[in-house]
């Protein structure tokens, strides 16, 4: 037994494989072909069924041999993903014909990946670049299997295309409609979102500085700002569309209103964040208001301001897209989503959502990177 290192995931995967092997066929078509040997019926996994089972069984068994962690990881990675690839390419063209063995084999692959993630999560390392690679690889595997299971379920069960298209066809759709998507991004992100974001954050910041100088204003604006942050501001979209027309101006106006209050509240809070001792120090230097502001209070407020910038990056995108539901020229991400939903072109909707997700992450990521560079001194950043 010293040679073995059993894991419940691998054992469960073996059980799945055995049950799948014992059952008569991978698809309804295969059963049909077996029943009428004379008829010529194409069915999925003609030659590959055995290969898939073999891969998974071998992978599961090999993973339990006491190898190095990396050996086990490579075996699991290869077995699970090669099997998954065979299964997904095999079912293509035979949607909806899959039977229990198909799903059992997918489940077996998923169990092996679970084992893989457990193994990778257990790796302790002091090597920083390796640590970072693992931090990226583990969620990447998880994300990939989310897509694999989605693909397998939609194709295996033959879920109607308009309900939930498989990820592969969404990918194809993205690739084939790049010009349309690019035009939508240009309209929504580069006009509505960015202009509105800059104006909204700038206005919020300016009013915060004003409120900082006038204490009466600060005491009045802070509670109002806090309350407004909880309100469904997005509802002003139809009004803005009436005032500023269908083009990007009305969307930018919605974004301005949505981003203004978080910036105001966070900046005011941040300006109060510098320590009493540091402020006394500036006083002993007989420092002027603006000197204290620029040399002490704004740098100390930077983490709060960046927090608002990050919150606002998401809010701005939501504001612009939802505002487009209330009317746009014939371009824009929100416009595309609402019209393609109406036409039941669900794959195009998903393509647009994928683009929105990427745009949102990139926007947020850029702000976060600038934050890391600007507030390198803050414990939350320098602590790693």
């Amino acid at each position: 037994m010293r040679m073995l290192r059993p894991s419940w995931q691998a054992v469960a995967a073996l059980v799945c494989c055995l049950v799948a092997f014992a059952l008569p066929g991978m698809s309804t078509l295969e059963l049909e072909a077996r029943a009428n040997p004379a008829a010529v019926i194409d069915y999925p996994f003609m030659g590959t069924g055995g290969l898939v089972v073999g891969l998974l069984v071998l992978g599961a068994l090999a993973s339990m041999i006491r190898l190095s962690v990396w050996g086990e990881a490579v075996i699991l990675l290869f077995a699970a993903h090669f099997a998954a690839w065979l299964l997904l390419t095999g079912i293509m063209g035979y949607e909806g014909s899959a039977l229990a063995p198909f799903f059992l084999l997918i489940a077996a692959g998923w169990l092996l990946v679970w084992r893989l993630v457990v193994v990778l999560s257990g790796i302790r390392t002091t090597n920083r670049s390796l640590e970072w690679t693992l931090r990226l690889v583990i969620p990447a595997i998880f994300g990939a299997w989310l897509l694999i299971i989605w693909e397998a379920a939609t194709r295996g069960f033959g879920i109607p295309f308009i309900l939930l298209p498989p990820p592969s066809s969404i990918g194809v759709r993205i690739a084939s409609s790049l010009p349309v998507l690019a035009a939508d991004v240009r309209q929504t992100i580069f006009k509505s979102v960015l202009i509105g974001y800059v104006l909204g954050c700038g206005a919020g910041f300016a009013v915060a500085i004003l409120a900082d100088r006038v204490d009466f204003l600060r005491r009045g604006l802070l509670p109002i700002g806090n309350m407004v942050s909880a309100l469904p501001i997005i509802g002003v979209a139809p009004i803005m569309v009436m005032w500023f027309g269908f083009d990007w101006h009305s969307k930018a106006a919605v974004v301005v209103i949505m981003t203004f209050f978080p910036m105001l509240v966070n900046t005011v809070t941040g300006l109060a964040a510098s320590g009493a001792m540091e402020r006394d120090l500036m006083r002993t230097y007989a420092s002027s208001y603006w000197q204290t502001l620029f040399k002490l209070r704004l740098p100390a407020a930077a983490p709060f301001i960046f927090n608002a910038l990050k919150i606002n990056s998401t809010l701005a995108l939501i504001g612009a897209i939802v505002a487009e539901f209330f009317g746009t020229p014939v371009v824009g991400m929100g416009f595309r989503i609402s019209t393609e939903v109406g036409r039941m072109n669900i794959d195009m909707v998903w393509a647009e959502i994928a683009v929105a997700a990427i745009a949102g992450s990139v926007f947020y990521g850029v702000v976060a990177l600038i934050e890391r560079a600007a507030t390198f001194w803050h414990p939350s950043v320098r602590g790693g």
Binding site: I138, L217, R219, I321, V322, S338
Partner: protein
Amino acid sequence: MMSFRDKIWPVSAILLVLLVIWYAGAILMNAPFQRDLNRRGDVDVTFSQFVGQTLSQQKPTLPAPHQVAKNVFENTFLRKVTSNRSLVYHSWVTLSSTVLGFAFGTALGVLIAVGIVHIKALERSLMPWIIASQTIPILAIAPMIIVVLAAVNVTGIIPKAMISTYLSFFPVAVGMVKGLRSPELTHLDLMHTYNASKAQTFWKLRVPASVPFLFASMKVAVAASLVGAIVGELPTGAVAGIGSKLLAGAYYSQTIDIWAALVAGSVVAALLVTIVDLTGRLVERAMGARPA
């Protein structure tokens, strides 16, 4: 924390100024249309009459506060709550799906957070996605969920509640993970010296420590839930709810109705956030926390 007395005067003063600006804005923004109307009708009016006209249009560019207030009052108190024009009815439709979705989302978020804190593989693989998903405009999926579910004959409260669920799930999960991890090392070490089981550490240390975090994120979540429900009502073909009131108002240029719906939405939001806030305070006080 500022005392109530410190806030009340500045807040009232600023609200008063906003009201004045609103009236001035209403007069200015409605003036061009009114002037046009009067010229075409060949009506000569004094300045004060003209101002009165700008503040009492049927479909003003910017309705005056008293017009909105009158609309809200009539549609809240003077109509039967079953009427299609009653704001209470529409608010109730939105509120019910918000609360249902919020309850599910909170429960789901807490469950996932407990899993993430206890299972390393789950933390490493799932947590980055939950954090990343906060950076993307998930609200964009809302219309698709509504329409797709309608295609398989799932309509009414469930699709909207689903949108609210996933919008409230993320903040709760993130806040709860933070909360469950918030106990200091010394407190954890103390439990360790007692040889406490994982479950004991969880119930006696982690859960109490997480309560403030839970309620803070629930406040964010309930506001997000409401936005989700409202946006979820946009593509349903405008049947009922605050979102459909907004859309109908936009469609027929009934500006006063839009503003009234906005007021209703704000009242519902304030109500929900206040309830969550008060519940949080009560729970924390019952647990012996220092009043903030």
